[in-house]
């Protein structure tokens, strides 16, 4: 038994941290959010060249052929630096293609997602924001051997940066009669838009589909039988977001601990007072525990498929609670400086609220854990 990372993984962590600190420091975030892309295409290209965009893509399709645990190392670092690039979106699109696509489909799309020449995202939700099969409402109309889609997918991450979308749609009345198809951003009838977000470092928006054709060879797997693949996608999404949250929550906690050591009030550092010290200890406990769960979920994705649902739900649930608490208390334990634009505490706070609902909040996952026990 070994609950630790390999030397290669530690190396990856070190390189990622170094690159992100240099190429994408917090001080650049304000400038980046004003660009059309919302992130730096140069840095994205660099990540592609390093092979990091295709970490989990099989080598046969241009990827590094590594596992989720490796991706989690990288995501923890992008979370730490509040990296604004579409790494989660792209990784989930690639993972779903690798999971549910046939050889031709993987050959067609994966290499571009792995080398960074194209960006992928996933479009799951529409009218209702819930993570049960019946929440997906967008209905595909038969069109020869393909389908036609008209409607709006909501809460799509990086909608305007993405070149292609893995879209979930309904092809029957039974709750689980769902399908997955690939829609390209440039295809007729496709338009994407993002809206300003509270977390200005992340983009979110809608994918509008006006009579968009999904040809038979763009449908992943058998039509009407995609729910298991969608559920795996949800678990990967929950784990990936949790890994990013782990990095940013740790950064927020580190910042606050350092402030508590440095800031002198009433003649001593405020970190001497139990009113500051004890909440920090509690947050450390919560975060270390969420860390254990996130790492285990990554391991389960690679090695223990039957464990994934529970592992991912536990990880996202506790990580969401830890991140949300740390985000808020990082503000409260600082003074007024916490909510000035120049100081990063407010960025972590906003990020913690942004990531909370993605792929299900703590309430959803605690509830799901009981369902997984048949309760």
């Amino acid at each position: 038994m070994d609950f630790g990372f390999s030397e290669e993984q530690e190396l990856l962590r070190g390189e990622a941290r170094k690159l992100l600190d240099e190429a994408c420091p917090l001080s650049e975030l304000n400038a980046l959010r004003e660009t059309p892309e919302g992130h730096s295409p140069e840095v994205w290209k660099q990540l592609g060249e390093l092979g990091w965009l295709g970490l989990i893509v099989p080598e046969a399709y241009g990827g590094a052929g590594l596992g989720w645990l490796d991706l989690i190392v990288l995501l923890e670092e992008t979370g730490r630096s509040l990296f604004p690039g579409p790494l989660v979106s792209n990784s989930l699109a690639a993972a779903t293609l690798a999971d549910a696509g046939d050889d031709a489909q993987q050959r067609r799309w994966l290499p571009a997602l792995a080398d960074g020449s194209r960006i992928g995202s996933v479009a799951l939700l529409d009218e209702r924001e819930a993570f049960w099969p019946d929440a997906i409402g967008l209905r595909g109309q038969r069109d020869g051997d393909g389908w036609r889609l008209s409607g709006e997918k909501r809460f799509v991450t990086d909608p305007t940066a993405a070149d292609l979308f893995v879209v979930a749609f309904r092809t029957g009345d039974a709750p689980e009669a769902l399908s997955l198809g690939v829609v390209e951003a440039g295809a007729p009838g496709v338009s994407a838009k993002h809206f300003p977000t509270l977390d200005q470092t992340r983009r979110l928006g809608n994918l509008e589909l006006l009579d968009v054709r999904v040809a038979a060879d763009a449908v992943l797997g058998a039509p009407g039988e995609a729910w298991p693949a969608i559920e795996r996608l949800l678990d990967r999404g929950a784990t990936a977001v949790a890994a990013e949250m782990l990095g940013s929550a740790q950064a927020a906690l580190d910042l606050t601990v350092q402030y508590a050591k440095d800031r002198v009030q009433f003649g001593s550092p405020i970190g001497r007072f139990q009113g500051v010290k004890h909440p920090l200890a509690e947050m450390h406990v919560q975060l270390e525990s969420a860390r254990s769960l996130v790492y285990y979920a990554g391991w389960a994705l690679d090695e223990s498929p039957n464990d994934v649902a529970r592992a991912a739900s536990r990880a996202k649930a506790l990580m969401t609670e830890a991140s949300s608490r740390i985000g808020t208390e990082a503000i409260q334990l600082h003074g007024t400086i916490a909510y000035t634009e120049e100081y990063p505490a407010q960025l972590y706070y906003k990020r913690s609220k942004f990531t909370r609902p993605l792929f299900g909040d703590a309430d959803h996952h605690y509830d799901r854990l009981l369902r997984l026990r048949g309760l």
Binding site: F195, L198, R263, G335, T336, A338, K353, P357
Partner: protein, 388 residues
């Protein structure tokens, strides 16, 4: 125990209510032209400065009348009473209590008439909760003081006309005894203001500044109170109604909005109002808001009897902080990912009022004396536990 009003108090409540019904349009119909007109009308009724003595131009309202007026104004969602909030709440009362006749004559009327805009110079870069440690120096030179130093988190300084400035005039005295208060025009040479943007950049409450004092010369006649009396001025407060009824009514409005949001929301794919956890939170908010109202009325009763504990307000301050944070959190949770949208676009629910709430609670929770400071006050001054 009696929660009914006397006939005189009932008459006053009716007077206020009738006036508001006749003169105050609903929030949506209030345009730019409305505010100056409104202030003129309520100034004529002496409701601006209603708690101040009549001889300085105030309303001379009794404590109960103040309570009734604030209660009715908040219920009618009336705008603030007067344009110079800082002048009316901090500077005016201090000048009434500590000012010379000349200072009163000069400053009080312009505060009441909305001709002044005051800001307060308290916090400094190394001085947060421990306010008495402030370092901004004022050295007496003949008939004036030479001020050097820096203030931070100075709300409104970028358009204030005057600053209510706390300075250290005696570096050798114990820290509480060496502080004095100066009333300084912001256009005095040597004052420089730099904006500090907050996290809701451009939005509500974005009015923080740093203020630098570089050999600023202030005539000694602009000192309020005696030299060294600054800490007493900071701690003092004129006898005015302290029930916190305005905050209570504001929370009640928020709760109504939140119930309305909950009725439109889902949790885990089911109506949010069928979720026991959401129901419990909402019930708890309602209960704590009512507790604040009643705590305020108990405090008011003691104030009327003349035995109000000076730390009593800390109890409702903690409720206020908790409610601001928890209600905005629940509202964001109810919205799901839509909570991430910001601004005035179509994707933003309820015109973004909850996002605004999530960005603006820190100004109250931290700016108003942090919860940790309030807890120390309660533990030490009300429960008698030893100081740290």
């Amino acid at each position: 125990m009696d929660f009914n009003l006397t006939p005189e108090e009932e008459a006053f409540r009716r007077e206020v209510r009738d006036f508001l019904a006749a003169e105050l349009p609903p929030p949506k119909q209030r345009d730019a032209a409305f505010m100056p007109e409104w202030w003129k009308k309520i100034r004529a009724k002496r409701w601006i400065g209603f708690s101040w003595p009549e001889e300085v131009g105030g309303g001379g309202g009794t404590l109960m009348q103040q309570f009734i007026l604030k209660d009715e104004l908040a219920r009618a969602r009336a705008p603030l009473l007067g344009s110079d909030y800082t002048g009316l709440h901090w500077v005016g009362p201090a000048i009434i209590q500590f000012g010379t006749p000349a200072q009163k004559a000069r400053y009080i009327p312009e505060i009441l008439d909305g001709q002044s805009i005051w800001c307060t110079g308290y916090s400094e870069p190394d001085v947060g909760s421990d306010l008495a440690a402030l370092q901004c120096r004022a050295v007496r030179e003949g008939d004036s003081y030479l001020v050097n130093g820096q203030k931070i988190w100075t709300s409104l300084a970028h358009f204030a006309k005057s600053i209510f400035l706390m300075v250290r005039t005696d570096a050798d005295a114990p820290k509480h005894d060496g502080i004095s208060c100066l009333l300084v025009p912001m256009d005095t040479p040597g004052i420089e203001v730099q904006r500090v943007h907050n996290m809701g950049a451009g939005g509500y409450g974005d009015m923080l500044n740093q203020v630098f004092f570089n050999d600023v010369r202030v005539p000694a006649e602009l000192r309020l109170g005696a030299e060294g009396q600054g800490w007493e001025i900071i701690c003092s407060a004129l006898q005015s109604e302290r029930s916190g009824i305005t905050e209570v009514n504001r929370h009640e409005t928020s709760l109504e909005d939140l119930l309305d949001l909950a009725a439109r929301s889902e949790r885990n794919g089911r109506p949010a109002l069928e979720d026991a956890s959401v129901r419990r939170k909402l019930g708890s908010f309602e209960t704590r808001i009512e507790a604040m109202r009643l705590n305020g009325m108990r405090a008011l009763t003691r104030q009327l009897r003349g035995d109000l504990h000076p730390s009593e307000a800390s109890i409702n301050k903690l409720h206020n902080c908790d409610l601001l944070v928890e209600m905005s959190e629940l509202a964001l949770e109810l919205q799901g990912s839509a909570a991430s949208y910001y601004g005035s676009g179509e994707a933003v629910l309820d015109k973004g009022r909850w996002q605004l709430a999530a960005l603006s609670w820190p100004a109250t929770v931290i700016g108003g004396g942090t919860p940790n400071v309030q807890k120390n006050i309660i533990a030490e001054r009300m429960l008698g536990l030893p100081k740290d």
